[in-house]
Assembly symmetry: C2
Homo-oligomer: 342 residues x 2
């Protein structure tokens, strides 16, 4: 009465059944779908109609088994931060242009979970992987030689010979630091991301290089680092406020840290951009939304995703010996940096 009896939800009708119902062979049905031009017009129409009518859809698993490819790409990200998701967007764009589909896997910074997706791809569930990784100690190194087609986005995977589309984090960080120096700042502190991360290391190293080049001591203030979080920014800035003289500018490892720094400064009544300058990194969405709007280093994340996917797709098409692609960062000057106080 209620029509709820329709229990057989997904019908799972196979090419064979379609074929039988029309008294043709499975091969012919297959051809009607993949290379219709080979068929007699009449049979083709007949088959296509039946396919439509019976709601037949080829089992991609079986096809994948046969063809040894899936037209599927995985993007594996360490966290669901907007930053990494932009990379995903870029990959999607590349995939659309080249007739791939994309799915995203998430490791939650658990490196061993990268391996799950690697295995999934090795097991032919995807043709290749765009790996957005951040850790410098990578278990993947042990697996050299039994990896699926793989490219890195954002940063190279140290110890591993996979091509990457990336930015020069070190240079970006130097640009940021030099901007502050040009504004007259001399007492500049740095609060960085996780020490284990290649990216965080490079950003720190850029800060140090720029300071040293300007004959300033990069270690005048304590070496602060930790998670990319506002909490780190807040506690870090609190620590810096106990130093005498206190810094007039802070270079943060990313925008979240920078916002934490600003929160502390606001709380103790220091004017951001005047009494203390702050600069972030990444140009996340919140950077322009926040008040005051954050000076930061823009990373072309979407483009990074796009280019890394293209690298991967070329690899799948047989390209060898791919070079890394290094995209430029850009300093975005907003309201949190200003002339050093006199």
């Amino acid at each position: 009465m209620t029509g709820r009896s329709k229990r057989k939800l997904h019908s799972n009708i196979s090419i064979k059944e379609v074929a039988q119902s029309l008294n043709v062979s499975a091969a012919t049905v297959s051809r009607a779908l993949s290379r219709p031009e080979l068929l007699n017009k009449e049979t083709r129409v007949r088959i296509l109609e039946a396919v439509e009518h019976m709601g037949y859809r080829p089992n991609l698993i079986a096809r994948g088994l046969r063809l040894k490819k899936t037209q599927l790409l995985f993007v594996v990200v360490p966290t669901l931060s907007p930053f990494f998701l932009e990379v995903f967007r870029g990959v999607e764009r590349a995939a659309r242009e080249t007739n791939y589909s994309v799915l995203m896997g998430h490791t939650n910074r658990d490196i061993s979970r990268e391996l799950i997706f690697i295995d999934q791809a090795l097991a032919q569930r995807a043709d290749g992987i765009v790996l957005v990784t951040s850790s410098s100690q990578n278990e993947l190194v042990d697996r050299q030689g039994s990896l699926p087609p793989l490219v890195a986005a954002l940063e190279t995977i140290s110890g591993l010979q996979v091509p990457a589309a990336r930015v020069d984090h070190r240079k970006g960080s130097m640009d940021a630091t030099n901007h502050l120096i040009a504004l007259g700042h001399r007492r500049i502190a740095h609060i960085g991301g996780p020490d284990m991360q290649t990216i965080a290391q490079r950003r720190r190293s850029g800060f140090e290089a720029a300071m040293t080049a300007a004959k300033l001591d990069p270690n005048a203030y304590p070496r602060l680092s930790g998670d990319y979080s506002t909490a780190l920014g807040e506690s870090g800035m609190e620590a810096l406020l106990t130093c005498h003289p206190r810094p007039t500018a802070v270079v943060a490892g990313n925008d979240e840290i920078a916002i934490g720094v600003i929160r502390t400064l606001k709380r103790v009544g220091l004017t951001v951009g005047q009494q203390v300058s702050v600069i972030g990194f990444d140009d996340q969405r919140i950077a322009s939304l926040y008040e005051p709007a954050l000076t930061t280093v823009r990373v072309p994340t979407e483009e990074l995703g796009y280019q890394s996917a293209m690298l991967l797709i070329q690899q799948l098409a047989g390209a060898e010996q791919q070079e890394d692609l290094v995209l430029p960062t850009a300093l975005v000057i907003r309201d949190t940096t200003g002339m050093a106080p006199v």
Copy 2:
């Protein structure tokens, strides 16, 4: 010299090759992996060692073809907003507990792209789908009866008989409105999300119901709606400022809109929480980070994901006739709402 000759990257060694190298049958190797207790200890050890040594990994595609299941779940989200990603997190948690893996697909609000993932699942690339959808006009309705195992998160899919883990958006919105009314507000405006979305409709409807119940006119101010964006909040509030008398409180369709509203208020010099109260919806991350911190309606997104995944997993295990699960929202009072001005 360089060792670059190692061209055969992913090795693709099959169960057959492992079997041959040990002079056992493929069946035995298969058993060594799936039901080792059936084997003679000696052979088992011998096989496991070879598997390890040869780096053999079962082809999941072939296994999936045979077993007709993948232990894979898809989560399909309309946008990459933090809000939907929380749902994804919840699904991941459920999956970890039940030995599934999860991949995320993204439709970018393009409903037809939902179908791509539906098809992927139908084609056995996943065992089921958690669909986080928002549109009310859903093409899925045409596909009733040829859908993969499916559950909805956040909101039911109108016209479709799939179970959902959701919240009562209407009630949440009533709570928000009643909070303002209790604070003495009488001139209250509403700025909602896209009219096409079920969720936006329900939230609007909750506002109207609460207003009507308090004998206030829900249509005293123009009916404002659009994308869930700060831009809408800004322009919407600008429009409201031209009304006389202007509203003393604004109920926003979500947090982003609310922040737009606040930006405009700040710009024209009105004190938020005193001269004008603003309330959001969702309790996104930015709600507590923003200054002033946003009063809003918390949606238990992660839990929603978890519960919807559990619903799906139960369905896969054979459960029938599943009821919707309705989780409670919670009013989170922060700094953007206060007593109505006298």
